[in-house]
Symmetry: C2
Subunit: 433 residues, 2 copies
């Protein structure tokens, strides 16, 4: 009977801004984590985090502290027995809900705590999170999903049907992943802060390493975007996939105009073409880019989608051709389950958002589970890969030839190395003094 | 040349939860304010705040501190010379934006700071905020609006046309308001936490005081909602307006079902029938309630609408018949300007959200400005009124016969009494020790 005795919160920040890593049309940050440790009365510690962009990480830390009383003192058995009740204690707290609701700082803090509980649960079970989820009985999985406010898009009966179906052929799919790994793409080639020569060299190197899908940032000066896209396309040839990411910088009309020019470089998707909250705008852009490219290009979004209600509408409005769930932006594994199930129902592939601090470590579990039990196809599925900061995790991702290798250690791969926490704690760690 | 020398932040909380004031289907809080004072090199202090629901007020305080460097050390002249630049320094901070973007905690903190700058500006001008705005040249007002991400719904040229037109007849409208006050409605009669006898007595008393529009909370047990609505309707007669507020508790289908029964009580609007982010859901409900009531009832929402992008979509999707802007939820006066202008373009009346701590004090300025210069009609316009906590403000609202009297003191009526700040500071004020 594991009991959670305390919640420790660490403000961990890596000084990445100076190098231009992670720079895009709208963000330039010091990649950071609001890192949570659940201390228990067993030898296991639950680890979870949410990713932030530097300044303000103390705000998400404060939010974790404000929510921690819903976790402290509770047993895993209790939380598992009433997962929606536990989830709503965090998402519908009668005082804290006002600060979202279910979005931004308070959702991210919820995500850190909920993810830590799942990490603990998988460690106690002695299996990686993807396996815990994939092998869970359907009724137990469905009981983890809060259908509130998404009932018009997904019912428990529909979720049950999807998860029951997902049991067929699971052993074969698992054998395939164990052999080949999970497809991925790299974002490390084209940050806006990198000069052309660096972009060209990185694209060439990535291609040589086996990557056949790469993402570049757009949304700067349009002539620059076209020039950079042209030089990347020249390096990777006509067959490799080239994705573009505008990080919300465009207005709706502006996005359509820009894609009119960028379409010549045969983009596979345009990511975050406008404001993350603009469901109707994404729908218009999705129709327009399909028209501009004869259906070859689609809209992708999700890393900043606030919650399942926004994802629901993106699907209902046919606004996206790719759903990019984030492991920490929304309220943790439970909410991601709802999103994976809705994507499956609407027939939209999920390509999780990663990068930042530790997001690759987390989302590999979600993608593997999705393939094994929910989406059950690799068609159009790729996990984002960014080659930053993995060395700070105890169970870092491993890739080979442009694919993620199956994680095999117990938990959610969320545990940060003790030395890294100490070194990069803000503001008192040696890295910041 | 007023210079802002420092930003003081106070965590002020009023212990309202115990009495059931402000209780509804989803919130039960200690009404609180993240209260901001801009200290300057003149005798004026800019006051602003955002409203929260108790626990977590320390999180919005932390967010104000994280944003304060965009304000400290700057002169009013600088900020006025480039209002969109100033606004984006807060809303598009390259590290803090990730925590929203433009929603929740970080937007609310931005609202507190931006509102404080406007309070300071109006005090320096020696006029109430509504007058400062109403008498501002059109070009200067348009320059305060950030059209980013709303260009597909409102252009600067359209805003200019609305504000130019609004100059005609302004003197007559002002004379009318000075004589009659601004229409309002009361929410104090039907909180969910109140027993039937108290609700009946409050409805009767409000009617006797001259109120002809009242709002009740729904979203509890449906039989209870119907019973409470019936007893209020019996007290106020068939001609007074009865509004209902579900505070987001229903799913889309559930809202339509509930309104099928509540329609018998002739509701004027159903407020927040479902999740605040659900634009498409509100659109469906709006069509359904119009059908159920022959067009007599409409959907109202906005107190938790995250930003101008959500409001834009609510208007584009014909999801609302009443727009309820909040003075603090979004990024302050500048963003509210965008929302008022969009509402005018789409022909939807604005009835600002109030209550909480000091929201009535703020929104009266917005409603008066809207009537004088933007919407230019009182048709369907009412400001919410809740009879709580006004005594803590130096320039509290004054009402008579169910109408707000024009505020006449310089500023945004945001200044809290020093003694109240001291008494209710959390956790060290005498009220909390």
């Amino acid at each position: 009977m594991t009991r959670i005795e305390s919640v420790d919160v660490h403000d961990v920040r890596f000084p990445t801004a100076a190098a231009g890593d992670g720079s895009d049309a709208i963000n330039r940050g010091d990649y950071s984590a609001t890192y949570v440790e659940l201390r228990t009365d067993t030898t296991h510690t639950g680890a979870g985090f949410t990713f932030t962009n530097g300044r303000g990480n103390e705000i998400t830390c404060a939010a974790v502290r404000a929510l921690a009383h819903h976790v402290t003192g509770r047993t895993l058995a209790e939380l598992n027995a009433d997962p929606v009740g536990f989830h709503r204690s965090l998402t519908a707290d009668p005082q804290l809900r006002w600060l979202g609701p279910e979005k931004g700082v308070i959702a991210m803090a919820t995500g850190a705590l909920v993810n830590a509980v799942w990490d603990l649960r998988a460690k106690e079970a002695g299996v990686p999170l993807w396996r815990l989820l994939a092998e869970m009985p359907t009724a137990e999985l469905v009981a983890c999903v809060d259908f509130h406010h998404i009932g018009d898009a997904l019912t428990p009966a529909e979720a049950t049907e999807i998860l029951d179906k997902g049991q067929a052929g699971m052993a074969e799919r698992l054998a395939e992943l164990a052999r080949d790994g999970f497809p991925s793409y790299t974002t490390s080639v084209g940050w806006l802060g990198y000069p052309d020569d660096k972009v060209r060299g990185l694209a060439r190197a990535a291609y040589a390493q086996g990557w056949r899908a790469m993402k570049m940032k757009v949304g700067g000066d349009l002539d620059d975007d076209v020039r950079r896209a042209t030089l990347i396309r020249a390096e990777i040839g006509p067959d490799a996939l080239l994705m573009m990411d505008a990080n919300q910088v465009w207005d709706v009309e502006e996005a359509i105009t820009a894609m009119g020019r960028l379409a010549a470089l045969d983009p596979y998707w345009i990511e975050e073409p406008t404001h993350a909250d603009d469901v109707l705008g994404h729908a218009r852009i999705n129709r327009a880019v399909a028209g501009l490219t004869g259906g070859r290009c689609r809209v992708a979004t999700g890393e900043v989608a606030a919650n399942r209600v926004i994802f629901k509408q993106l699907l209902q409005a046919e606004a996206i051709g790719v759903m990019q769930v984030d492991a920490c932006r929304v309220a943790g594994v439970n909410e991601v389950l709802a999103e994976l199930l809705m994507a499956a129902k609407f027939g939209v592939p999920v390509c999780p958002h990663a990068g930042g601090v530790g997001l690759c470590e987390l989302v590999q579990h979600l993608a593997v589970f999705d393939y094994l039990r929910v989406g059950t196809s690799l068609d159009g599925r790729m996990v984002e890969y960014v080659d930053h900061l993995h060395e700070h995790f105890e169970d870092p991702v491993r890739t080979s030839g442009g694919r993620y290798l199956l994680p095999d250690r117990p938990g959610y791969s969320a545990t940060m190395r003790t030395a890294s926490i100490a070194e990069f704690s803000f503001p008192d760690g040696p890295a910041w003094r």
